[in-house]
């Protein structure tokens, strides 16, 4: 990651500015436009994921030698992209950045050989799915203590456990399974498509309906020894992974909150009640003011943590606090978005109820969208 900057600065680089513009255009034309339909159908429209290839999300960080663009790992750029895409649609954006999360994690934790083996196929002209299996179906699931087990065997490792909310699992070429190595640390293992003992079931949630969120069951799934990311001293950094994932989820949600804020701002100015636009009422106006205040505060928190990550500084506390704030405030923005529209907000004709359902994911998702 790049060198430390000298001054506090919120200015985008020219490259970031240009990228943001195209991300925003794409989000508007390719995500927002199909958001409602995808939610109603509970499926990703055909061709959508392939279309995201033009954004080059997966290509950017893959080393040139492996067919990628070989750009340096940039959590800040990833966060900006996630924010812009998340404004179009939280779920579709999450699907779009899922292979990137896999790639980022392999780059951060894998050996050169592993990068070569697993990243080359992802540097493709068409959309190649790869994903990470982290969460487990428990109310008290503790990210720092996953219960999926990896047992050392003669051939490598044997994996057992159940993972949930694995995005794109059924089409993924690779699933990076985070598991507790018996007698060791929490490690990351790459399981290839169709492995024996791997079963994948698509599940639906309150939100995230357009995309595949799967329960992945591992029953004595065998992987080779070199399927474990890293080697020797350099093995999987769980804390960093959790922090980068939380930042990814937060960044996506910033975009969604922006969408809410824009929508209700317009609505409140247009909707007449008691003879005046409802925006003239302090109760409505202050809800909107608070959306703007909290959104800006969250954005700065996410940017700070991502920028620290990019500069190679410790950023776990920053990411943790950003996530605490986003879990609370994005849901507040989601529910107030519906409130401002009143009964209309509850109807699926308007998008605010969809944002409400998607934003409930922010405090729940772990291990997705690692930036």
């Amino acid at each position: 990651m790049s060198e430390q900057a000298a001054l506090f600065d919120l200015t985008l680089t020219e490259e970031q500015r240009i990228t943001r513009e195209s991300m925003q255009r794409f989000a508007e034309s390719e995500l927002k436009s199909i958001s409602r339909e995808s939610d109603e159908n509970g499926s990703t429209p055909e061709g959508f994921l392939d279309k995201t290839v033009e954004l080059g999300l997966s290509l950017i960080p893959i080393p040139e030698a492996l067919g990628g663009a070989g750009m340096p790992r940039s959590p800040i750029s990833n966060a900006l992209n996630a924010e812009d895409l998340g404004k179009g649609d939280f779920s579709l954006a999450l699907a779009a950045v899922t292979p990137l999360a896999f790639i980022n994690t392999v780059i951060d934790n894998g050996t050169e050989a592993q990068q070569e083996k697993y990243l080359s196929p992802l540097a493709s002209e068409s959309f190649v799915a790869a994903t990470i299996a982290f969460m487990e179906p428990k109310a008290t699931f503790e990210p720092t203590e996953p219960e999926t087990k990896a047992e050392k065997s003669s051939k490598g490792y044997v994996l057992n456990g159940v993972k949930t909310n694995v995005v794109l699992a059924s089409t993924a070429e690779y699933i990076l399974v985070i598991a507790q190595e018996t007698g060791g640390n929490v490690e990351a293992f790459i399981v290839e498509k169709g492995a024996n003992g791997l079963s994948i079931e698509s599940k639906k949630n309150m939100g995230l309906r357009p995309i595949e969120t799967c329960t992945v069951t591992l029953e004595n799934v065998e992987v080779a020894a070199n399927a474990k990311l890293g080697e020797g001293e350099k093995s999987f950094n769980l804390d960093k992974f959790i922090a980068l994932s939380r930042l990814g989820t937060c960044a996506l949600s910033l975009g969604t909150c922006e969408a809410v804020l824009e929508y209700v701002t317009e609505y409140a100015n247009e909707r007449i009640a008691f003879g005046e636009p409802i925006a003239y009422r302090q109760s409505v106006a202050f809800m909107i003011a608070n959306m703007a205040i909290e959104l800006e505060g969250m954005r700065l928190m996410v940017w700070k943590a991502a920028s620290r990550a990019e500069q190679g500084m410790d950023f776990y506390r920053d990411a943790y606090l950003a996530h605490v704030l986003c879990a609370e405030k994005t849901m507040e923005i989601g529910t107030n978005g519906v409130q401002i529209l009143g009964g209309h907000g509850f109807i699926r004709e308007h998008p605010v109820e969809l944002w409400y359902r998607n934003l409930r994911a922010v405090g729940i998702l772990e291990g997705c969208a690692s930036i």
Partner: protein, 413 residues
């Protein structure tokens, strides 16, 4: 004498309706959430059970004049001077339980809609007899009006022996399944609130058209209809209350106040729904967490508890508080005390607490909460409307604030 325990009669109703909700509604709750707008054969049976018969023989309880859930919306108390635990309290208890089972199905219970409450409180005996046993929806909101009930623009014009209705109505709960709609219309828009009257319009009256059913985030088992009225003619006698338009400021206020008073009865009911959904979220998330070893014993100081326990206790405290506020509003109604402020207090507290608890319960249970494999996520979709319809959180606060501060609607807008 101060006692906030339910009477024996109410306790029986409480157990009975909770059991019914658990046994009959929970098993079909998800099904009709998915099959939005489908007919619900199971509900006919349930409606019969609850509306027709007297389950558990509680009907004769001396302290509960109406053990009948259906008529509990409608019940009129006797005239004795004794303290009563009557129909409104019964309704708070039963409605919260049915909504605990499934709020969508609760709103789809055949036989009683919000229109029934209006008919019951305003119709003359002659009208009541003529209308017979109706299942009446209530049509107030119009596309361009929301919280502002006084902005009705649907018109009613007298033409010979008939009223001619013209306009559009939205958000008519049970509009599809009911057989009658009580329609709010103005006799003369220039005369403001005082000219707003309500009319009983049987379904199938020519000129009345069900335009669409809304697709909603939650309470999907309940249908929400939009109607248009094009020269829809109904008998002159189908107006509820007087056809005169008050011409003094005072009389105008009173006339509209009368129309609005229905809300004093329905708001504690919606509060009860929010309490039911909130409680359902609490119970289910506690169950899930308990299975994974989190205990709830209400012992340790809040900040010596775990974060999950503390959050749960806060949710429970809010819901208990809302429940008592709703019971109080019902108790006041049962005892002929004006309860407009208390009705709004209960709706305000219950609406926001139910919404908060249901959303928090999903978060507390992580992927289990968010998954459609469990009902928690449904509760979090259902709850939101309860902080909106029958007067949003903001409208309730306005009412309470005006009441406390002694301000008019012109002073505190």
């Amino acid at each position: 004498m101060i006692n906030l325990e339910l009477s024996e009669g109410l306790k029986n109703m409480d157990q009975l309706t909770r059991g019914l909700a658990q046994g009959m509604l929970r098993p079909i709750s998800r099904k009709y959430d998915i099959q939005e707008h489908d007919d619900i054969p199971e509900m006919e049976q349930l409606g019969g059970l609850m509306g027709g018969g007297a389950p558990g023989g509680s009907k004769k309880e001396s302290d509960s004049e109406s053990g009948d859930v259906m008529s509990s919306f409608l019940s009129e108390d006797g005239s004795s001077n004794e303290i009563k635990n009557g129909g409104q309290m019964t309704a708070v208890v039963t409605v919260s339980n049915i909504a605990w089972g499934c709020c969508g199905l609760m709103l789809a219970l055949p036989g009683v809609g919000l229109g029934n409450a209006a008919i019951q409180s305003v119709a003359t005996p002659e009208q009541k007899e003529r209308f017979g046993r109706v299942y009446a929806g209530m049509a107030i909101t119009e596309p361009s009006t929301g919280s502002d009930s006084s902005a009705v623009s649907t018109t009613a014009t007298l033409d010979g022996d008939e009223w001619v209705l013209n306009g559009e109505k939205i958000f008519v709960t049970a509009g599809h399944r009911c057989n009658t709609v009580v329609v709010w219309a103005t006799l003369d828009k220039s005369k403001g609130k005082a000219a707003i009257k309500s009319f009983v319009v049987p379904k199938g009256t020519p000129g009345m058209e069900l335009v669409r059913l809304e697709k909603k985030m939650g309470i999907r088992a309940s249908d929400t209809a939009a109607f248009s009225f094009n020269n829809c003619r109904i008998p002159k006698d189908n107006i509820l209350g007087s056809a005169e338009v008050a011409d003094t400021e005072e009389a105008r206020k009173k006339a509209f106040g009368g129309v609005m008073q229905t809300f004093d009865n329905t708001r504690p009911m919606v509060a009860a729904m929010a309490i039911g959904v909130g409680q359902a979220s609490i119970d289910m998330s506690k169950d899930m967490l308990s299975k994974e070893g989190v205990s709830f014993d209400y012992k340790k100081r809040l900040y010596n508890c775990s974060a999950a326990q503390a959050e749960m206790y806060r949710m429970e405290a809010d819901i208990e508080s809302a429940r008592l506020l709703a019971l109080k509003a019902g108790w006041m109604a049962d005892n002929k005390m004006p309860n407009s402020k208390e009705a709004s207090m209960s709706k305000a507290k219950a609406g926001r607490s139910g919404s908060h608890a249901s959303l928090k319960a999903v978060e507390l249970c992580q992927s289990l909460g968010y998954s459609v494999d469990n009902l928690l996520e449904k509760f979090a979709r259902d709850s939101k409307i309860l902080d909106i319809f029958e007067g949003t959180q903001q409208i309730q606060q306005l009412i309470v604030a005006r009441n406390v501060l002694g301000l008019s609607s012109k002073e505190l807008k």
